[in-house]
Symmetry: D2
Subunit: 206 residues, 4 copies
């Protein structure tokens, strides 16, 4: 039997996404072999997550001066486009690939079920306020003419898109969603029915 | 060491796509346990592949009366749409899912490299002839107004699409290709750069 | 829909072990692209499985002169050792690796369940006869002093070993079975409980 | 771009065994969603790894009174058997399955290469001292008559076993190693050459 501290740490690591007790044990023994400095640094960095600030406009985590994250405070970004993502890692996927130059808004989740409690955690009211009056949240010179709902074409993503379309309709803006169809490099033969159907329905000239 | 016949059959099965010697041996020993009737039927069915006819219009394999396959001879299909696929299994994927009601044309491959010899095996000339004069190949009452290039969004598929667009341009028809983007059920976080880029570029209202 | 012959061949290939309809279709279209000679050869080789002989002593399939397979008729093999395997592919695994120089006997299966009907297909009576009187089955100068039960350490293999030990006990021969424990290259950390237990129980000096 | 703290934590988690940057990011965002208490507890538990004691006899990590871990201080364990393992997770695998009742010794690694520097980290001198005089290290009434080298049958494990056998020979004790062969539930057909060879060489009666 492992010692209590080790057991406790295995239990804490086992809560990490995708980590089972065997992997958690491997993490702990990796740590027991590190020197005191490394452990201290890890411990301190985890603690300092508590001090991260949340961007006033897009809800991204950041640190530093002011109330806006580096993307929102960058005046070179295209302030006519707003891209709504479910979570910060999605924002990072898009940024990393340098395929978009507008602003973001982190919704904080998707409609996974219809539990009223969960729905409240989605930042729909906050999204409406920021679209209507970006100035109020620190973004000057912004006037959105397109809201891109960059949500997954999954059951949860689709439900969220439907909800957002309904909740934003009265603002009279162009609302778009990401293209669906065969992924680049994918093969027709292995596509599931829904993807193939979508690829036929959304066929394009060019 | 296996007997000569068994070795030979292992070798022949090993040429099947995705089959290594171990799997091939398992196939052979499966067969040695079947009764004579089953072996005879398999042997005969393989032989009779030689007697399959090729559809005069779309190049699908078929058997029975006449020169046209059941799809091409079915007058209820929409004869204003022609869907070009690389191979018969692609046609089957589309048919099985019942997402398309027009006619097909099997191109016989994709432009995998630029070797002139390989290019000749693609049925481009045959495609042009059938688009211009379907009647001549047994399809009456057809007048295509859209050619759907249902090729994979892979390097080979893209090269083939470019080639076909060039070769068919003078016919003045609407040429489309399948929608690309996030596959249904897919997640932004796991999409590769090209798919994500494509999903942003091809974003749609609704 | 595929043509009847193609459907039939897909159905026949789908009965092969580990082959589903998609793989079967790929096999068929691989074949439709081969020339007549290749198809004929495959068809003929499958047919000629019917003409294979079964070795009078060990039940291996073979072709050629006489009643014995090349292993049984090879007078350089060690005729004091008899290795009992469940099926011919097991024999081949051992031969290929050149780790054994005695004779074999193919039992024809394992005790998968206790159905009396299945038990009858195991060649237990034949095994006893051949151990007692190898000369009668064409093996001269043989006198076994060890019977190796090379069966898998699975539930089925264990049940078969127990059965054989009981059925051969009165012959008064040394009966052995393959070593069990950690596989070479394996790791303690990933071993299941039974393997680890077996490895401790069967620990050895040297 | 993620904030500096997040980037730093992703970098620290990416050093964990088997964790890439994508998984590390998932860990970090999992943490950003936890409340302050949870973060504090994780941070504190990691810090307290520094306070773990090492068992005076077997080198297992533990906490509590005295110099010996719970296994070494348990007088009901069989003090005539000593099981040498490479690392603490191996000890745990054996304990968890309740297949051994003696004492342990954690060697601290295996001979992965012949670098003199690495060899020094193996506790060979410590092992000899504890075998010769367990009393001196707090274990009373112990007198080992068997040393079980529970190391993996891998290249590294084999090299370590050879080294230990040489280094312990003069002590005149029975030295054993774990059984090798087919793993329980394994199949002959899929065994690699070395495992199959080992299974034949180590065949047993019963």
């Amino acid at each position: 039997m492992y010692s209590k501290t080790i057991q406790k740490l295995i239990k804490l690591f086992s809560k990490f996404p995708g980590v089972g007790p065997k992997t958690a044990a491997r993490f702990v023994f990796y740590l027991t072999k590190q020197d005191k400095e490394e452990l201290k640094e890890l411990s301190k960095t985890i603690s300092s997550l508590n001090t991260l600030k949340t961007c006033n406009f897009c809800f991204k985590l950041f640190e530093g001066e002011g109330n806006l994250c580096p993307i929102c405070s960058n005046s070179l970004r295209d302030r006519s486009l707003l891209c709504v993502v479910a979570k910060e890692t999605d924002l990072e996927s898009i940024e990393k690939n340098k395929i978009y130059k507008g602003l973001y808004f982190i919704l904080g989740g998707t409609v996974s079920t219809l539990k009223p409690k969960e729905l409240k955690t989605l930042r729909i009211k906050e999204l409406r306020e920021r679209i209507k009056n970006p100035e109020k949240f620190g973004i000057s010179g912004a006037s959105f003419n397109e809201i891109i709902l960059a949500l997954n074409p999954t059951v949860e993503g689709e439900a969220t898109i439907l909800l957002l379309e309904r909740k934003l309709k009265d603002l009279g803006l162009k609302i778009t969603r990401l293209g669906r169809g065969l992924p680049i490099g994918g093969e027709l033969e292995y596509a599931d029915k829904e993807t193939l159907k979508s690829a036929f329905e959304r066929r394009t000239q060019q």
